[in-house]
Symmetry: C2
Subunit: 121 residues, 2 copies
Protein backbone atom coordinates (compact mmCIF):
# COMPACT_ATOMS: atom_id res chain seq x y z
CA UNK A 1 0.00 0.00 0.00
CA UNK A 2 1.01 3.59 -0.50
CA UNK A 3 0.35 4.34 3.15
CA UNK A 4 2.14 2.95 6.20
CA UNK A 5 0.99 2.87 9.81
CA UNK A 6 3.58 4.46 12.12
CA UNK A 7 3.44 3.44 15.78
CA UNK A 8 5.27 5.83 18.09
CA UNK A 9 6.10 3.19 20.73
CA UNK A 10 7.53 0.84 18.09
CA UNK A 11 9.69 3.59 16.63
CA UNK A 12 10.87 4.74 20.07
CA UNK A 13 11.99 1.18 20.86
CA UNK A 14 14.39 1.36 17.90
CA UNK A 15 16.88 3.76 19.47
CA UNK A 16 18.26 4.84 22.82
CA UNK A 17 20.40 7.90 22.12
CA UNK A 18 19.14 11.19 23.46
CA UNK A 19 19.04 14.59 21.73
CA UNK A 20 19.34 12.79 18.40
CA UNK A 21 16.10 13.13 16.41
CA UNK A 22 15.12 10.26 14.13
CA UNK A 23 12.99 10.92 11.06
CA UNK A 24 9.88 8.75 10.88
CA UNK A 25 7.83 10.52 8.23
CA UNK A 26 7.83 13.22 5.57
CA UNK A 27 4.89 15.40 4.50
CA UNK A 28 5.88 17.44 1.45
CA UNK A 29 9.10 19.10 2.69
CA UNK A 30 8.30 18.69 6.39
CA UNK A 31 9.94 16.04 8.56
CA UNK A 32 8.38 14.31 11.56
CA UNK A 33 11.13 13.29 13.98
CA UNK A 34 11.03 11.38 17.24
CA UNK A 35 13.55 12.34 19.90
CA UNK A 36 14.33 11.20 23.41
CA UNK A 37 15.46 14.05 25.58
CA UNK A 38 16.88 14.18 29.09
CA UNK A 39 18.91 16.87 30.79
CA UNK A 40 19.56 20.40 29.56
CA UNK A 41 19.83 21.26 25.89
CA UNK A 42 21.60 24.39 24.60
CA UNK A 43 19.95 27.75 24.14
CA UNK A 44 19.36 28.25 20.44
CA UNK A 45 16.96 29.53 17.83
CA UNK A 46 16.10 28.67 14.25
CA UNK A 47 16.39 31.87 12.21
CA UNK A 48 14.69 30.30 9.19
CA UNK A 49 11.76 28.30 10.57
CA UNK A 50 9.14 27.71 13.21
CA UNK A 51 9.46 24.42 15.09
CA UNK A 52 6.76 22.21 16.63
CA UNK A 53 7.16 20.02 19.73
CA UNK A 54 4.48 17.41 20.47
CA UNK A 55 5.00 15.42 23.68
CA UNK A 56 4.49 11.67 23.18
CA UNK A 57 5.42 10.48 26.69
CA UNK A 58 6.84 12.04 29.83
CA UNK A 59 7.21 15.78 30.28
CA UNK A 60 9.75 18.52 29.78
CA UNK A 61 10.23 22.20 30.37
CA UNK A 62 10.54 24.57 27.42
CA UNK A 63 12.62 27.46 28.67
CA UNK A 64 12.25 30.78 26.89
CA UNK A 65 13.97 34.08 27.54
CA UNK A 66 10.72 35.51 28.94
CA UNK A 67 9.33 32.50 30.77
CA UNK A 68 8.89 28.77 30.58
CA UNK A 69 6.26 26.15 29.77
CA UNK A 70 5.86 22.69 31.25
CA UNK A 71 4.68 20.31 28.55
CA UNK A 72 3.49 16.75 29.03
CA UNK A 73 2.02 13.99 26.88
CA UNK A 74 -0.97 15.27 24.90
CA UNK A 75 0.40 18.80 24.70
CA UNK A 76 2.34 20.70 22.06
CA UNK A 77 3.83 24.09 21.30
CA UNK A 78 5.11 26.04 18.33
CA UNK A 79 8.40 27.90 18.78
CA UNK A 80 8.33 30.72 16.21
CA UNK A 81 11.38 31.23 14.04
CA UNK A 82 14.07 33.32 15.68
CA UNK A 83 12.78 32.73 19.23
CA UNK A 84 15.45 31.44 21.61
CA UNK A 85 14.49 28.31 23.48
CA UNK A 86 16.01 25.52 25.53
CA UNK A 87 14.30 22.18 26.28
CA UNK A 88 15.10 20.71 29.69
CA UNK A 89 13.88 17.33 30.96
CA UNK A 90 14.52 15.95 34.43
CA UNK A 91 13.45 12.47 33.31
CA UNK A 92 13.53 11.07 29.79
CA UNK A 93 10.77 12.47 27.62
CA UNK A 94 9.77 11.47 24.09
CA UNK A 95 8.84 14.26 21.70
CA UNK A 96 7.67 14.43 18.11
CA UNK A 97 9.33 17.32 16.30
CA UNK A 98 7.73 18.76 13.19
CA UNK A 99 9.90 21.05 11.10
CA UNK A 100 11.20 21.48 7.55
CA UNK A 101 13.65 18.90 6.26
CA UNK A 102 17.19 20.04 6.97
CA UNK A 103 16.46 21.86 10.21
CA UNK A 104 19.43 21.39 12.57
CA UNK A 105 18.58 20.60 16.18
CA UNK A 106 20.88 23.21 17.71
CA UNK A 107 19.86 25.91 15.21
CA UNK A 108 22.18 28.92 15.33
CA UNK A 109 24.07 27.69 18.42
CA UNK A 110 25.96 24.63 17.14
CA UNK A 111 28.13 22.78 19.66
CA UNK A 112 28.54 19.25 20.90
CA UNK A 113 24.83 18.36 20.84
CA UNK A 114 24.44 19.15 17.15
CA UNK A 115 23.02 16.23 15.15
CA UNK A 116 24.48 16.92 11.72
CA UNK A 117 22.62 14.11 10.05
CA UNK A 118 19.15 13.01 11.03
CA UNK A 119 18.70 9.29 10.49
CA UNK A 120 15.50 7.70 9.18
CA UNK A 121 14.14 4.87 11.26
CA UNK B 1 5.48 34.85 25.98
CA UNK B 2 6.00 34.10 22.32
CA UNK B 3 5.12 30.47 22.88
CA UNK B 4 1.81 28.99 24.01
CA UNK B 5 1.08 25.57 25.47
CA UNK B 6 -1.63 23.75 23.51
CA UNK B 7 -3.51 21.01 25.35
CA UNK B 8 -5.34 18.61 23.03
CA UNK B 9 -8.06 17.71 25.55
CA UNK B 10 -8.78 21.39 26.26
CA UNK B 11 -9.04 22.17 22.56
CA UNK B 12 -11.23 19.12 21.89
CA UNK B 13 -13.64 20.26 24.62
CA UNK B 14 -14.25 23.47 22.65
CA UNK B 15 -16.27 21.93 19.83
CA UNK B 16 -18.62 19.05 19.11
CA UNK B 17 -19.12 19.05 15.34
CA UNK B 18 -17.66 16.15 13.41
CA UNK B 19 -15.71 16.23 10.13
CA UNK B 20 -15.02 19.91 10.72
CA UNK B 21 -11.30 20.44 11.42
CA UNK B 22 -10.35 23.27 13.78
CA UNK B 23 -6.96 24.95 13.42
CA UNK B 24 -4.98 25.03 16.66
CA UNK B 25 -1.50 25.95 15.44
CA UNK B 26 0.55 27.09 12.46
CA UNK B 27 4.18 26.21 11.68
CA UNK B 28 5.37 28.29 8.73
CA UNK B 29 2.64 27.55 6.14
CA UNK B 30 1.50 24.31 7.77
CA UNK B 31 -1.68 24.04 9.81
CA UNK B 32 -2.28 21.68 12.75
CA UNK B 33 -6.01 20.90 12.96
CA UNK B 34 -8.00 18.87 15.44
CA UNK B 35 -11.01 17.00 14.11
CA UNK B 36 -13.61 14.70 15.59
CA UNK B 37 -14.64 12.03 13.15
CA UNK B 38 -17.38 9.41 13.25
CA UNK B 39 -19.01 7.50 10.44
CA UNK B 40 -17.88 7.29 6.83
CA UNK B 41 -16.18 10.17 5.07
CA UNK B 42 -16.09 10.55 1.28
CA UNK B 43 -13.45 9.04 -0.97
CA UNK B 44 -11.12 11.83 -2.03
CA UNK B 45 -7.51 12.77 -2.67
CA UNK B 46 -5.45 15.93 -2.41
CA UNK B 47 -3.77 16.45 -5.79
CA UNK B 48 -1.46 19.14 -4.40
CA UNK B 49 -0.27 17.88 -1.03
CA UNK B 50 0.53 15.02 1.32
CA UNK B 51 -1.62 14.87 4.45
CA UNK B 52 -0.76 13.61 7.95
CA UNK B 53 -3.20 11.98 10.40
CA UNK B 54 -2.12 11.57 14.04
CA UNK B 55 -4.65 9.81 16.29
CA UNK B 56 -5.16 11.61 19.60
CA UNK B 57 -7.91 9.40 21.04
CA UNK B 58 -10.04 6.51 19.84
CA UNK B 59 -9.38 4.71 16.59
CA UNK B 60 -10.41 4.81 12.97
CA UNK B 61 -9.92 2.94 9.72
CA UNK B 62 -8.09 4.58 6.85
CA UNK B 63 -9.50 3.00 3.73
CA UNK B 64 -7.33 3.03 0.62
CA UNK B 65 -8.02 1.65 -2.84
CA UNK B 66 -5.51 -1.14 -2.24
CA UNK B 67 -6.12 -1.91 1.42
CA UNK B 68 -6.84 -0.34 4.77
CA UNK B 69 -5.11 0.60 8.01
CA UNK B 70 -6.55 0.62 11.52
CA UNK B 71 -5.06 3.54 13.44
CA UNK B 72 -5.41 4.22 17.14
CA UNK B 73 -4.06 6.73 19.66
CA UNK B 74 -0.28 6.94 19.44
CA UNK B 75 -0.23 6.12 15.74
CA UNK B 76 -0.03 8.19 12.57
CA UNK B 77 0.12 7.92 8.81
CA UNK B 78 1.02 10.06 5.83
CA UNK B 79 -1.33 9.95 2.86
CA UNK B 80 0.77 10.96 -0.15
CA UNK B 81 -0.62 13.57 -2.53
CA UNK B 82 -2.93 12.13 -5.12
CA UNK B 83 -3.67 8.96 -3.17
CA UNK B 84 -7.40 8.28 -2.71
CA UNK B 85 -8.42 7.67 0.87
CA UNK B 86 -11.50 7.53 3.07
CA UNK B 87 -11.45 7.73 6.89
CA UNK B 88 -14.14 5.67 8.62
CA UNK B 89 -14.76 5.59 12.39
CA UNK B 90 -17.32 3.37 14.12
CA UNK B 91 -16.99 5.43 17.31
CA UNK B 92 -15.91 9.04 17.61
CA UNK B 93 -12.19 9.45 17.13
CA UNK B 94 -10.05 12.58 17.59
CA UNK B 95 -7.30 13.19 15.04
CA UNK B 96 -4.65 15.82 14.57
CA UNK B 97 -4.30 16.70 10.89
CA UNK B 98 -1.09 18.27 9.63
CA UNK B 99 -1.24 19.81 6.18
CA UNK B 100 -0.56 23.07 4.34
CA UNK B 101 -2.83 26.00 5.14
CA UNK B 102 -5.75 26.05 2.72
CA UNK B 103 -6.05 22.29 2.27
CA UNK B 104 -9.73 21.41 1.90
CA UNK B 105 -10.93 18.37 3.85
CA UNK B 106 -12.72 16.72 0.94
CA UNK B 107 -9.89 17.41 -1.52
CA UNK B 108 -10.93 16.82 -5.10
CA UNK B 109 -14.29 15.28 -4.17
CA UNK B 110 -16.26 18.20 -2.74
CA UNK B 111 -19.78 17.49 -1.52
CA UNK B 112 -21.80 17.98 1.64
CA UNK B 113 -18.97 17.24 4.06
CA UNK B 114 -16.71 19.97 2.67
CA UNK B 115 -15.55 22.43 5.32
CA UNK B 116 -14.98 25.53 3.23
CA UNK B 117 -13.55 27.54 6.08
CA UNK B 118 -11.44 26.06 8.83
CA UNK B 119 -11.98 27.91 12.09
CA UNK B 120 -9.22 28.67 14.59
CA UNK B 121 -9.92 27.63 18.14
Amino acid sequence: MAVEKLVFTDKLAMFQDQWSPKIIAKMNNVHFKLAKIKGEFVWHSHPETDEVFIVISGEFEMQLRDGKLRLQAGEMCVVPKGVEHRPVASEECAVLLVEPAGTVNTGDAGGALTAFYDEWI
